[in-house]
Amino acid sequence: MSDVILDTDRKGILTRISDTLWRNPRLTILLLLTPPALWLGVVYLGSLFALLVQSFFSIDEFSGLIIREFTLKTYAELFTPANFDIIVRTVLMASAVTIAAALVSFPIAYYAARYAKGKWKAIFYLGVMLPLWSSYLVKVYSWKLILAKEGILNWLFETLHLSWLLNAYLSLPIIGGNSLSVSWTGTFLVFLYVWLPFMILPIQAALERVPRSMMEASGDLGATPAQSFRHVLLPLALPGVIAGSIFTFSLTLGDYIIPQIVGSSRRFIGQAVYAYQGTAGNIPLAAAFAVVPIVIMGIYLWVAKRKGAFDAL
């Protein structure tokens, strides 16, 4: 950098601005923050506020017009059995996906963080990043191909003469269905597949931050590997798991495309929001439905923050 000629004359206009900024850190912060705060405040928080306002309006049942008056009627509609079922169903699916994702992710993250070296480290890193950044729709589409009746999975079961097993599974209530592509098992698999990298990365980040010496100390103090794992590594990895679960949970709560393409006809929250605002034109009810994931995620984030999950993001 020796070729950089610095302005030593303290009178230039830029220098004076710069001196003022240096002397007034508060002003600097204010100037730095104004553009992003304005953008997020106006565009994003403003929109959230608009959503909230809409959710307190109601729709006139006869004319189908939105009545712009404060009412809790729309929220009451959420608790009709049909709508409440949608909420329960979505939360259950999100929980199942989150738990499964944590279980599948852990060995991958653990191996990548503590054992993979050199070439394998790179392979594991890219092995998670490539699926993470591949197109969401392409991933969903690939599962449509896999789960289709004439697709590879059915072919595999047939070739292995295990079709009876698949049929027995599909005849189960709730998780089964006419075929995998119209069953909740299918929906679950696609959710799990699509959100998995979002779980692996924070867990891996948390595990990489655990100092090797800490595990050695635990061993030196007489803990068996299983005890060290249970009492040292797992608690330290927990913020990573929680950080990952924020993604898997939230993404599942709000998705409407996966259950539409692979799944039964029974709706999830996302589909309800989409249907009510679209063809039905009932924006107030759609808005009230959209408030549900906000509230759930609000509680979730609050708990996560208390557990220190944001440091692992």
Binding site: P131, I257, P293
Partner: protein
């Protein structure tokens, strides 16, 4: 746990996990060459290159692609600007409302996409804003900020404050310090953040369905094909090309940031 060798069970679990993440994508590559055009038959009855030509001559694919590239470029530029400013402010000092700011940045991605989508839609609705190219960009830039922010804030934390002070002591003003000291330090993080923001916007479909009018971005085009298939082989080819195209920047970002101790990943 003390040893440096993983147990067999762990190796198998990790390997199976990786396979689970990659096999479905590889399947797309086979389907792009199938001769069969009515169903998703496996194994493919034959292989052909015919569908590549058919896809090449489809104007709707090209239009969707060009719209996606335009939206992603502009959103990335906006996100780079806002995300860097925010990261600089947050990492520099502790101030009142700092937590609130970082929460506000994370919120668009922490809340389900459908919430962002329906919020923007009700806002456009209340304010009587017609849907256009810019309403799509508005939505995309909002959730892209967090990717840039995450990358930049991690790098700012690692960049020692004494470097900045040394630069000022040597007579540089804030702008020169930014240009010659801070920017070279954070440039790879910004590049990685920018690439990821581009990829995020290029691929976004949920928010876009709420903020787009008649325009079709590439993901919206694909969604249409998934819901109401017109020509399945064309969808297969587009899907394969999209996979290949998104792999390139990821590999690029990886080789660019390799060697630094930062990971270009969004999760970090």
């Amino acid at each position: 746990m003390h040893s440096d060798r993983a147990s067999k069970g762990l190796k198998i679990a990790a390997g199976l996990g990786l396979a689970f993440m990659h096999l479905p994508i590889l399947l797309i590559f086979v389907y792009a060459f199938t001769t069969e055009d009515k169903s998703y038959q496996w194994p493919p009855p034959g292989l052909t290159l015919k569908w590549f030509g058919v896809t090449w001559n489809r104007p709707d694919v090209w239009e969707a692609l060009s719209l996606s590239v335009k939206v992603a470029s502009i959103s990335t530029v906006i996100a780079l600007f806002l995300g860097t400013l925010c990261a600089a402010a947050v990492s520099r000092t502790r101030f009142f409302g700092r937590e609130a700011i970082s929460l506000m940045v994370i919120l668009p991605i922490a809340l389900p996409g459908i919430v962002t989508g329906i919020s923007l839609r009700s806002a456009f609705n209340l304010a009587d804003i017609p849907f256009s190219f810019w309403t799509i960009v508005l939505g995309h830039a909002t959730f892209c900020i967090v990717v840039v922010y995450n990358n930049a804030v991690a790098r700012f934390r690692r960049t020692s404050g004494s470097l900045v002070e040394a630069s000022m002591d040597l007579g540089a003003n804030s702008f020169q310090t930014f240009r010659y000291v801070i920017l070279p330090n954070i440039s790879t993080a910004l590049l990685a953040g920018g690439m990821l923001a581009f990829a995020l916007s290029f691929d976004e479909v949920i928010v876009t369905t709420f903020t787009a009018g008649q325009q079709q971005t590439l993901p919206i085009w694909m969604l249409e094909e998934l819901v109401r298939p017109r020509q399945r082989p064309v969808t297969n080819v587009v899907a394969m090309v999209v996979v290949l195209v998104t792999f390139l920047p990821i590999l690029g970002a990886y080789y660019l940031t390799r060697g630094t101790d930062t990971v270009a990943g969004q999760g970090k």
